[in-house]
Protein backbone atom coordinates (compact mmCIF):
# COMPACT_ATOMS: atom_id res chain seq x y z
CA UNK A 1 0.00 0.00 0.00
CA UNK A 2 1.40 3.36 -1.01
CA UNK A 3 -0.15 5.25 1.90
CA UNK A 4 1.02 3.03 4.75
CA UNK A 5 4.57 4.37 4.76
CA UNK A 6 6.31 4.57 8.14
CA UNK A 7 5.49 7.73 10.11
CA UNK A 8 8.95 8.32 11.55
CA UNK A 9 8.07 11.45 13.51
CA UNK A 10 5.32 9.66 15.42
CA UNK A 11 7.24 6.38 15.68
CA UNK A 12 10.46 7.89 17.03
CA UNK A 13 8.58 10.06 19.51
CA UNK A 14 6.83 6.99 20.95
CA UNK A 15 10.01 4.93 20.89
CA UNK A 16 12.14 7.45 22.76
CA UNK A 17 9.38 8.23 25.25
CA UNK A 18 9.27 4.51 26.07
CA UNK A 19 13.08 4.54 26.41
CA UNK A 20 12.82 7.29 29.02
CA UNK A 21 13.74 10.29 26.87
CA UNK A 22 11.04 12.87 27.46
CA UNK A 23 12.33 15.64 25.25
CA UNK A 24 11.04 14.84 21.76
CA UNK A 25 13.08 16.06 18.80
CA UNK A 26 11.67 19.15 17.12
CA UNK A 27 11.59 18.34 13.43
CA UNK A 28 12.10 21.25 11.08
CA UNK A 29 8.84 22.59 9.72
CA UNK A 30 8.06 25.39 7.26
CA UNK A 31 4.83 26.49 5.59
CA UNK A 32 6.46 28.33 2.70
CA UNK A 33 8.59 26.38 0.22
CA UNK A 34 11.12 28.06 -2.09
CA UNK A 35 11.14 27.16 -5.78
CA UNK A 36 13.53 27.78 -8.66
CA UNK A 37 12.48 26.32 -12.02
CA UNK A 38 15.04 24.56 -14.20
CA UNK A 39 15.40 26.82 -17.20
CA UNK A 40 17.24 24.53 -19.58
CA UNK A 41 17.37 20.86 -20.50
CA UNK A 42 19.23 18.58 -18.10
CA UNK A 43 21.31 17.56 -21.09
CA UNK A 44 22.90 20.99 -20.85
CA UNK A 45 23.11 21.09 -17.05
CA UNK A 46 25.95 20.46 -14.68
CA UNK A 47 24.37 18.40 -11.90
CA UNK A 48 25.77 18.46 -8.37
CA UNK A 49 25.37 15.91 -5.57
CA UNK A 50 25.02 16.62 -1.85
CA UNK A 51 24.59 13.84 0.69
CA UNK A 52 24.14 13.39 4.43
CA UNK A 53 25.01 9.70 4.20
CA UNK A 54 28.39 10.25 5.90
CA UNK A 55 30.70 9.14 3.09
CA UNK A 56 34.34 8.29 3.72
CA UNK A 57 37.13 7.06 1.44
CA UNK A 58 39.02 3.81 1.95
CA UNK A 59 42.77 4.13 1.60
CA UNK A 60 44.35 3.09 -1.71
CA UNK A 61 45.59 -0.13 -0.14
CA UNK A 62 42.00 -1.16 0.45
CA UNK A 63 42.34 -0.91 4.17
CA UNK A 64 39.22 0.41 5.85
CA UNK A 65 39.86 3.83 7.30
CA UNK A 66 39.82 3.95 11.06
CA UNK A 67 36.64 5.57 12.26
CA UNK A 68 37.83 8.67 14.04
CA UNK A 69 35.63 10.46 16.49
CA UNK A 70 34.63 13.73 14.92
CA UNK A 71 35.95 16.73 16.75
CA UNK A 72 33.22 19.07 15.63
CA UNK A 73 29.48 18.82 15.14
CA UNK A 74 28.08 19.17 11.66
CA UNK A 75 30.34 20.57 8.99
CA UNK A 76 30.73 20.25 5.23
CA UNK A 77 33.26 18.11 3.36
CA UNK A 78 33.94 17.40 -0.32
CA UNK A 79 35.13 14.31 -2.18
CA UNK A 80 36.39 14.10 -5.81
CA UNK A 81 33.61 12.81 -8.07
CA UNK A 82 36.00 10.47 -9.86
CA UNK A 83 36.88 8.55 -6.69
CA UNK A 84 36.24 4.86 -7.57
CA UNK A 85 32.91 3.80 -6.04
CA UNK A 86 34.51 0.74 -4.43
CA UNK A 87 36.64 3.07 -2.30
CA UNK A 88 33.62 4.95 -0.99
CA UNK A 89 31.67 3.74 2.01
CA UNK A 90 29.29 5.15 4.58
CA UNK A 91 30.01 5.46 8.28
CA UNK A 92 26.36 6.22 9.01
CA UNK A 93 24.80 4.06 11.70
CA UNK A 94 21.25 5.39 11.51
CA UNK A 95 19.83 3.02 8.91
CA UNK A 96 17.58 -0.03 9.22
CA UNK A 97 20.26 -2.64 9.89
CA UNK A 98 17.63 -5.39 10.24
CA UNK A 99 16.40 -4.94 6.68
CA UNK A 100 19.31 -3.71 4.64
CA UNK A 101 22.98 -2.73 4.52
CA UNK A 102 25.13 0.10 3.20
CA UNK A 103 27.40 -2.13 1.10
CA UNK A 104 26.56 -0.41 -2.18
CA UNK A 105 27.32 3.30 -2.09
CA UNK A 106 25.05 3.82 -5.10
CA UNK A 107 22.01 2.93 -3.01
CA UNK A 108 22.42 6.20 -1.07
CA UNK A 109 25.12 8.25 -2.84
CA UNK A 110 24.66 7.47 -6.55
CA UNK A 111 28.08 8.43 -7.94
CA UNK A 112 28.38 5.58 -10.45
CA UNK A 113 24.83 6.04 -11.75
CA UNK A 114 25.40 9.80 -12.19
CA UNK A 115 28.65 9.15 -14.04
CA UNK A 116 26.74 6.80 -16.37
CA UNK A 117 24.06 9.42 -17.05
CA UNK A 118 26.76 12.02 -17.76
CA UNK A 119 28.57 9.67 -20.16
CA UNK A 120 25.30 8.90 -21.94
CA UNK A 121 24.45 12.58 -22.19
CA UNK A 122 21.25 12.39 -20.12
CA UNK A 123 22.81 15.08 -17.95
CA UNK A 124 25.28 17.62 -19.28
CA UNK A 125 28.17 17.10 -16.89
CA UNK A 126 29.27 16.54 -13.32
CA UNK A 127 31.32 18.93 -11.21
CA UNK A 128 34.79 17.80 -10.03
CA UNK A 129 33.52 16.97 -6.53
CA UNK A 130 30.44 16.13 -4.51
CA UNK A 131 29.64 17.38 -1.03
CA UNK A 132 28.65 15.90 2.30
CA UNK A 133 27.10 17.42 5.40
CA UNK A 134 27.63 15.77 8.78
CA UNK A 135 24.80 15.47 11.29
CA UNK A 136 24.65 18.71 13.25
CA UNK A 137 21.94 17.96 15.87
CA UNK A 138 20.82 21.54 15.40
CA UNK A 139 18.59 23.06 12.74
CA UNK A 140 20.01 26.47 13.56
CA UNK A 141 23.58 25.28 12.87
CA UNK A 142 22.52 23.81 9.54
CA UNK A 143 20.70 26.95 8.47
CA UNK A 144 23.26 29.46 9.69
CA UNK A 145 26.51 27.66 8.93
CA UNK A 146 26.35 24.44 6.89
CA UNK A 147 23.68 25.23 4.28
CA UNK A 148 25.39 28.52 3.30
CA UNK A 149 28.71 26.63 3.02
CA UNK A 150 27.12 24.04 0.70
CA UNK A 151 25.70 26.88 -1.40
CA UNK A 152 29.12 28.53 -1.57
CA UNK A 153 30.74 25.29 -2.79
CA UNK A 154 27.94 24.59 -5.29
CA UNK A 155 28.36 28.06 -6.75
CA UNK A 156 32.10 27.52 -6.99
CA UNK A 157 31.32 24.28 -8.87
CA UNK A 158 28.97 26.20 -11.19
CA UNK A 159 26.21 23.60 -10.94
CA UNK A 160 22.79 24.18 -12.52
CA UNK A 161 20.88 21.72 -10.34
CA UNK A 162 21.57 19.60 -7.26
CA UNK A 163 20.56 16.10 -6.21
CA UNK A 164 20.37 15.50 -2.47
CA UNK A 165 20.45 12.15 -0.71
CA UNK A 166 19.99 11.46 2.99
CA UNK A 167 20.62 7.93 4.26
Amino acid sequence: MADDYVRYIERTREYYLAEGYNNPYQWAHFEDIPFTPLTKSLRECRVGLVTTSDIAVRSATGERERVEAQTQVGGVYSIPFDTPAERLFSRNEFYDRYETNLNDVNAYCPVTRLREFATEGRIGSLPPRFHGVYTAYSNRLIMERDAPEVLRRCREDKVDAVILTPI
Partner: protein, 122 residues
Amino acid sequence: MSLVARHLEANGIPTVIFGVARDIVEYAGVPRFVFTDFPLGNPCGKPFDAAMQRAILETGFDLLEHATGPGVTVTTPFVWSEDDSWKKKVFTKERPFMEGEVLERWEKAKERYRRQKREGNV
Protein backbone atom coordinates in the same frame (compact mmCIF):
# COMPACT_ATOMS: atom_id res chain seq x y z
CA MET B 1 19.07 17.60 4.26
CA SER B 2 15.72 19.31 3.70
CA LEU B 3 17.12 22.56 5.12
CA VAL B 4 20.07 22.44 2.71
CA ALA B 5 17.75 21.83 -0.26
CA ARG B 6 15.57 24.76 0.80
CA HIS B 7 18.60 27.03 1.10
CA LEU B 8 19.99 26.10 -2.34
CA GLU B 9 16.58 26.52 -3.93
CA ALA B 10 15.97 29.90 -2.27
CA ASN B 11 19.29 31.02 -3.74
CA GLY B 12 18.55 30.03 -7.32
CA ILE B 13 19.64 26.38 -7.60
CA PRO B 14 16.91 23.82 -8.43
CA THR B 15 17.05 20.73 -6.20
CA VAL B 16 15.53 17.29 -5.85
CA ILE B 17 15.71 15.12 -2.72
CA PHE B 18 15.61 11.32 -2.87
CA GLY B 19 14.37 9.87 0.38
CA VAL B 20 12.58 7.16 2.33
CA ALA B 21 11.37 9.07 5.41
CA ARG B 22 8.40 10.65 3.69
CA ASP B 23 6.78 12.32 6.68
CA ILE B 24 10.00 14.02 7.84
CA VAL B 25 10.82 15.44 4.41
CA GLU B 26 7.26 16.60 3.70
CA TYR B 27 6.92 18.10 7.18
CA ALA B 28 10.01 20.22 6.54
CA GLY B 29 8.66 21.35 3.17
CA VAL B 30 10.98 20.82 0.20
CA PRO B 31 10.78 21.89 -3.45
CA ARG B 32 10.96 18.43 -5.10
CA PHE B 33 10.92 15.01 -3.47
CA VAL B 34 11.26 11.52 -4.94
CA PHE B 35 9.91 9.05 -2.38
CA THR B 36 10.69 5.35 -2.41
CA ASP B 37 8.97 3.28 0.27
CA PHE B 38 12.14 1.55 1.47
CA PRO B 39 13.86 1.13 4.86
CA LEU B 40 16.26 3.84 6.04
CA GLY B 41 19.51 3.39 4.14
CA ASN B 42 18.51 2.95 0.50
CA PRO B 43 16.83 6.12 -0.83
CA CYS B 44 18.34 5.56 -4.30
CA GLY B 45 17.31 1.91 -4.75
CA LYS B 46 18.24 -1.56 -3.57
CA PRO B 47 21.96 -2.30 -3.15
CA PHE B 48 23.55 -3.51 -6.41
CA ASP B 49 20.32 -3.11 -8.40
CA ALA B 50 21.64 -0.69 -10.99
CA ALA B 51 18.48 -0.78 -13.11
CA MET B 52 16.31 0.24 -10.15
CA GLN B 53 18.80 2.92 -9.10
CA ARG B 54 18.73 4.36 -12.62
CA ALA B 55 14.93 4.34 -12.70
CA ILE B 56 14.74 6.20 -9.39
CA LEU B 57 17.25 8.83 -10.52
CA GLU B 58 15.39 9.19 -13.81
CA THR B 59 12.22 9.96 -11.82
CA GLY B 60 14.11 12.81 -10.18
CA PHE B 61 15.43 14.09 -13.52
CA ASP B 62 11.89 14.14 -14.86
CA LEU B 63 10.70 16.04 -11.81
CA LEU B 64 13.52 18.58 -12.16
CA GLU B 65 12.57 19.16 -15.77
CA HIS B 66 8.82 19.31 -15.36
CA ALA B 67 7.89 20.63 -11.90
CA THR B 68 6.10 23.95 -12.18
CA GLY B 69 5.82 24.68 -8.46
CA PRO B 70 7.19 23.65 -5.06
CA GLY B 71 6.19 20.90 -2.67
CA VAL B 72 5.82 18.05 -5.17
CA THR B 73 6.32 14.44 -4.03
CA VAL B 74 6.63 11.72 -6.65
CA THR B 75 6.39 8.12 -5.40
CA THR B 76 8.37 5.47 -7.24
CA PRO B 77 6.61 2.12 -7.87
CA PHE B 78 9.15 -0.06 -6.08
CA VAL B 79 8.27 -2.25 -3.08
CA TRP B 80 10.88 -3.47 -0.62
CA SER B 81 9.40 -6.93 -0.07
CA GLU B 82 6.12 -8.72 -0.69
CA ASP B 83 5.58 -8.72 3.02
CA ASP B 84 5.14 -5.24 4.51
CA SER B 85 5.90 -6.34 8.06
CA TRP B 86 9.25 -4.49 8.20
CA LYS B 87 7.32 -1.22 8.46
CA LYS B 88 5.62 -2.29 11.65
CA LYS B 89 8.94 -3.23 13.27
CA VAL B 90 10.83 0.01 12.73
CA PHE B 91 11.67 1.66 16.07
CA THR B 92 10.17 -1.09 18.24
CA LYS B 93 11.48 -3.13 21.17
CA GLU B 94 11.79 -6.04 18.77
CA ARG B 95 14.18 -4.06 16.61
CA PRO B 96 15.90 -1.39 18.74
CA PHE B 97 17.11 1.26 16.33
CA MET B 98 20.37 1.73 18.18
CA GLU B 99 22.01 -0.34 20.89
CA GLY B 100 25.42 -1.07 22.34
CA GLU B 101 28.31 0.83 20.81
CA VAL B 102 26.16 2.57 18.25
CA LEU B 103 23.96 4.01 20.96
CA GLU B 104 27.04 5.04 22.96
CA ARG B 105 28.55 6.85 19.98
CA TRP B 106 25.26 8.63 19.36
CA GLU B 107 25.04 9.71 23.00
CA LYS B 108 28.66 10.91 22.89
CA ALA B 109 28.05 12.92 19.75
CA LYS B 110 25.01 14.57 21.30
CA GLU B 111 27.01 15.35 24.44
CA ARG B 112 29.78 16.84 22.31
CA TYR B 113 27.22 19.11 20.70
CA ARG B 114 25.79 20.17 24.08
CA ARG B 115 29.28 20.89 25.43
CA GLN B 116 30.25 22.98 22.40
CA LYS B 117 26.96 24.83 22.68
CA ARG B 118 27.59 25.58 26.38
CA GLU B 119 31.06 26.83 25.52
CA GLY B 120 29.61 29.03 22.83
CA ASN B 121 31.52 27.29 20.03
CA VAL B 122 28.55 26.36 17.86
